[in-house]
Each structure stands twice: as C-alpha cells, then as structure tokens.
Symmetry: C2
C-alpha cells in the first residue's frame, strides 16, 4: 500500500472537531448536547446579506477575480476607514475564509523550517496551517494568571533566531478572549521593526471588544507598512461562518504580489459568498450594538457561573467569545470524551474543546478547556450546571478507580 | 524590509490570468476581447441549482461539516454509481474546488522534495500547487504529433525514483483535450501497483467526451482501491466555476483520514455553494446532451478554422474544451501580450494562454498557446480570423524588426 506522508501523519486533529463522532452518538442516544466547542454563533446573519443571495440574478455562476471583485474590495477599504485603518482596495486580497488568508501568508513569508513566534494558547488551527506549510511555531507562553496578557517583550527576544520570520497574534484572542492594549501593539511594532520581521495580526474578532475597550489594529500603527499583515474574515463579524470569505490586508507591495500568485493558483474565492459578504457591509450599526450587548451578557453569565464551581479557574475575557477554563482534572481530552460518552444531567451534556490543542508546547494546557459562549444565556447557565455536576461525578469515579 | 520566502518567489504566475491587466487596458481602449484564455464557459448554470440558492431559507449561514454534509455526499456517491464507479459517501470529502482537493492530496501523500510524475503539458496550476506544497513535478513529455496520447510506460518507469510518490493525470486533459483509453488507464494502474504509487486522476471534465467515446475512471479499475484518488469539481460540469466546490474520492482509508485533517484545519467548504452543488445533481440528462452537442460543434468549428491558418498545428481534442495550438512564432508570451496591447482587427482582439506555463520543462511549449473553446460558434470563427490576421501582422513586424 502506498504511504501517507510524514506531513500527513504530523497534521493535528482539530481539538474543536475531533470529538464530533462522540457527540453524534450521544445525540442518537437521545442526549441533548450543548455545543460550547465551536465558535459557531447562533446569532442571525444580517438580513441584508441573506436577501442579497435570495435576490441575486446570476445565470452563470462564474469565477470572480482571484483577488475578489474590485467593487467588494473598495467597500472593504471603506469599512476599514471607519476603524481608523487607511487602506486602498489594492491592499486587499479576498480569500476563502481567514484560513486561506493565513495559508497564503505563511507561504509568502516562510520557507521549510522557518519559524513564527506565537503567544500560546493560540487558535488551534495555526498548528494545522504551520504543519501544512512545513514551518514551525515557536510558542511564547501567556498565562491564565495574567488573563493571557502579552508576555514580556524580552521573552520574545529570547526566541528570535535567523529562522524567525514573523510574530503572529490573534487580537482579540481566540481562545483567550484577551484584547491587546495600544501599548502592547506598540511593543510588538517596535520588536518587528528592530528584527525586521512581519507582524501578522488575526483580527477577525475586531468588533467583539467589551467593557468600553477599543480594538487597536496593527494597520493603524505608523511606520509599520512593510511589516503589518492583517488576516480578516466575515465569519464571526456577521455570523457568516459558512460563507468562507476572508481577506489579507497589507501595504507591503512585494508581499501582496506574492500572495496574489497563491490566489491565482486556486482561481477565485466563492462567488455567492462574495455577494453575501459585500451586502453584509451595509449591515446597520445597531446590529453590532445589539450583538455586543448580547455577548457581554453571555460572557458575564458564563464567567460568573464558572467562578461558582469549585476548583475551576477562569480569566474574564475582554473580547471575542471564548474563554479558557482550568478544571480540577488531569486530562481534558479524556474528560471531554467522557462528557459525551458517559455523562448526562437530566438527559443533557456539553461538548467542549480540550485546550491542549491550542498550545504547541507538549504537555501544557492538559487540564484546560476552551468554551465558546455562542449560546443563549439560559443554555450557558444549563451548561455551567452540567459542568459542575460532571466534575463532581468525574471526581467520584476517579477516586473509586484509584482506591 | 522583511523578506519574501523562496517559495513565494518560486510561485508561478498563472499563464491563464497573468495577462488580465493588459486585457483590461485593451477593453478601456474600446477593443473587444474574446476570452479564449480561461475555461469559463458561457453555458447557463442549471436552473435547479440557481433556484436552490434563490429559495434557500437559511437564517444563520453556519459552518458545514468539514467533509461536506452527509446528504450531499450520499447524492455524490449516487452520481458516481451512474458512471460505473462504486463508492460510498464515506469515500468522499467535499472540498473548496478541485484546487483544494489537489492541495489536500499533495499534502497527504508527499513530503518536501518528493516527486509526482505528470504527463506534460498539464493544467498550469499543478505547478502552483506543487510549489506551494514544496514538492517537485517530474514531467513526462506527450506530443502534439500523437494528439498528446499517454507516453510509453517505459518513459514513466525511467523517471521513477524512491522520491516518486504518485502519478497524476488529467482525464480528459486540460490543456490537451486528450481522453485516455481504457487500455491506457490499465497501463497506469499496472505501473502504480508495480511501484506502489498513488494514481491521482483529475476527472473534472468526465462528461466532456466527444465522438461517442467513453470516459474511464481510475476508480472503476479492479484491485486499485489503495492507489486510486480522484479529484473532482462541479465547476465545468454544471458551469458553476464560481461555486468553488469539488471533492476528493478514494477508498484508501488511511489517505482519507489524513486528508480529513487538512479539511478540519480549514473548517468547511462554502455553505451556499454546497446547496447549489447538491441541487445541481438533479440536473436533467438532457442538459448534458445539449452541452456535449454544443461543445462538439464548437470544437469542430475551432479546429477546422485553425487548420485553415498557415503554419498553425493543432491536434483534435476528444474531450474537455481546450486545445493546444502550435503557432509560427518564437515566443507565445510576447505574442499574447502584443495581441492585447498592439493588435486589433476591426476593434476586436483575442486573449489566449501562453502554453509554456502548462509545462514544467523549461523552454518547452514556447511557440504554443492554449485555447479554451468556451465561446459561441460565431465568436470562435471571429477569434480564428483575428488570430490569422494577427499572425500575418506579427510576422510583418518581426521581419521589419530583423531587417
């Protein structure tokens, strides 16, 4: 039998999706499963985007331009201008989700065995994209005890080698919910200039900043045009995860010309989804006011419920819609599977993402889970109650097992 | 300034799309451009697919499963059964176009510097996917003089090394229009079994077989389950290039489990496009009868017109909707650009794809172009007349230049 590649073997399973088969068996058994594992919001997609699709009059579903239509990119540039980011449509390449934006970026700036420094825990699929691209993630540890704030800049400097090509941040952070301050962004800007690196910022949760805090884009920094690359997506902003539309934004012309070659090879981003995404830019501001209010309430509910549970540690997220929770267990992989296979509270259980997959340092985060608070308040309360009961039951089983 | 990767520098420009800026300038000048450069059919997308989108009632545009919805994959398996291919839905992963299917396949079966043997000329973007994946194409030459038939199997055997992991064919062929016979498929099956390689077949033009000839899928071969991988796409079949939906089909479980990890990392294929693609499977057979009739007529028209032009050599394609034409010129890149920048016949010109980008052997195919006969018969006649006049004018200019 012909062999699978070493790269194929090394590709990680998604910690967000690998337990799906267990969830499906639980559902077939009649157990209700609350999905805290995946950032799939239950928020309605803006009507203007849904209508644009229903009212489209295409007769031939043709390729678009590889970089996305000019009209759409002009509107995206206009969107950024409202967020204090001054870019032109030529500084934008439309991609098939933020995923493809990251793959094109990795390919354009790194060769085999090159390194990208990322504060961990980080979005789990960065592991997959780095493996697929043949490059290495060098993690710099952020801690639950500081709410996952930016590690000291000296910690970054210790890790920089000739193989280091970039620093990658996710801001606001998935899975941490941490929102970098302007001061932290300036520190990162200074270090990438000092060492001549790219600063790649995954800003797909830009709008999701709470408590009156403001998001600071790397593109708003002065004198960073050659270094700053933004990864963006409509997925979370407009609750359009299934569109698979994102973009790369950078004023570095050599970088953009290179990313464009990757874009041409795959021909174009999906046409229907571009129509919906372009229309979504006309979403009224009130939509976001309502959404931010809803997520703030969900966050407050979840965090306060989690803090009531013995032995659970959690940092209050300031943005996005995730948090990392540390649990009084040894291994969250086993626990998360057990929740689906063995446990229910009045016929209900929860699906969570084991956090180890959000780290690249082996053995770290084993007792942590990521929770996406994308469900209604009542469901989050039910979920917290399930977690509380499950931890008691799990402890009892393990005590029996070790006697 | 931070540096672009060697991989980024090595990424080829698309020979199909790189001349787009010159075409746009020509159009702004008022010149009508016939697009023979790209396989974007003018055929109407089946109404059943367009209607499915207009009538969809999604309120949240959510992620789908990474492998595509079960319902859609069951329907795809049923589609294959009508083409003498017996697969289950578990043997199918839905991808974002055939492009992504190839990227996942390359990643799953090849490591850095591994080799895939491909008869050339081949679909230009194979060059891009191999560069992006860090693997090498080893070309085996097919010739315009044999209509681009399969090279002798001994020619493949000469090229096999321990780094060879797969043979890749496109059947029917883009850019050659060649349709492999059952005997040729059996020869390939025998060699991949002998040397324990994968046989990857890009069969996106399956339905486009002319003159009563039949397409033979590698999946229909006995005893090839561990070796055969099919790359597929709805793009050409249903004139849905902009959907960006394809799939990987294989009965090799280890391969599919590996490809699934790449699929999970990018979350899911586009949701709207899956709805359209699933509906497209209900397209009545009469649609294909009409389309095949139309393309047969276009092919006959184009080939007969091209054969009338002095110094033009062309092989009659038996499938797909492309042909390679050899021209009495030195460099098709320069000529194709000149057609857009300098030439017009009564205010009209043509855009063609220089064929050198469809080879990986340097210096080969320089006097060839790829023509996509995706335009109406009258436009193809006009295009051939433009080519004829252009070759005369170009010859005159070059004679003056060399005097």
């Amino acid at each position: 039998m012909p062999k699978i590649s070493a790269k194929g073997h090394a590709m990680p399973e998604s910690p967000i999706r690998k337990l799906v088969p267990f969830a499906e068996i639980a559902k077939k058994r009649g157990t209700k499963v609350f999905h805290l594992n995946i950032g799939q919001p239950d928020i309605k997609t803006p009507q203007v985007a849904l209508d644009a699709i229903k009212n489209n009059n295409l007769e031939v579903l043709a390729y678009s331009r590889s970089e996305g239509s000019e009209e759409y990119r002009i509107k995206i540039a206009n969107y950024y201008s409202k967020h204090n980011v001054n870019v032109k449509h030529d500084d934008i390449i439309v991609t098939t989700g933020g995923s493809e934006a990251l793959l094109f970026t990795f390919g354009s700036i790194m060769d085999a065995d090159d390194e990208v420094i990322i504060p961990e825990p980080f979005y789990a699929n960065y592991n997959g994209f780095s493996t697929a691209s043949g490059v290495n993630i060098v993690p710099v540890m952020s801690s639950i005890d500081t709410g996952f704030a930016l590690p000291a800049i000296e910690e970054f400097e210790k890790l920089i080698t000739p193989k280091t090509k970039a620093i990658l941040i996710c801001n606001p952070g998935n899975p941490t919910g941490y929102l970098y301050s302007k001061e932290e962004i300036k520190q990162l800007a200074a270090i990438v200039k000092k060492y001549d690196l790219f600063l790649v910022a995954d800003e797909v949760y830009r709008e999701f900043a709470y408590d009156g805090l403001t998001h600071h884009s790397v593109l708003a920094e002065n004198d960073l045009d050659d270094h700053a690359i933004v990864i963006d997506s409509v997925s979370k902003r407009y609750s359009m995860c299934g569109a698979r539309i994102g973009c790369i934004v950078s004023k570095n012309k050599a970088f953009m010309a290179t990313a464009m070659k990757f874009a041409q090879a795959r021909l174009s981003p999906p046409t229907y989804a571009q129509i919906a995404s372009e229309a979504a830019l006309d979403t009224p501001d009130s939509y976001f006011t309502d959404v931010i209010e809803e997520y703030t309430e969900r966050r407050n509910t979840l965090i306060s419920e989690l803090k009531k549970i013995d032995g659970v540690k959690v940092a209050t997220p300031k943005g996005a819609f995730y948090c990392i929770a540390e649990l009084p267990i040894a291994d969250a992989d086993t626990f998360a599977q057990w929740l689906l296979e063995e446990f229910n509270l009045n016929g209900e259980t929860i699906m969570v993402a084991p956090a180890a997959g959000f780290y690249s340092t082996p053995g770290v985060g084993l007792n942590q889970i990521r929770i996406a608070y994308v469900l209604k308040k009542d469901d989050l309360i039910s979920s917290a109650n399930i977690l509380k009961a499950a931890l008691v039951a799990y402890k009892a089983i393990n005590e029996v097992a070790t006697v």
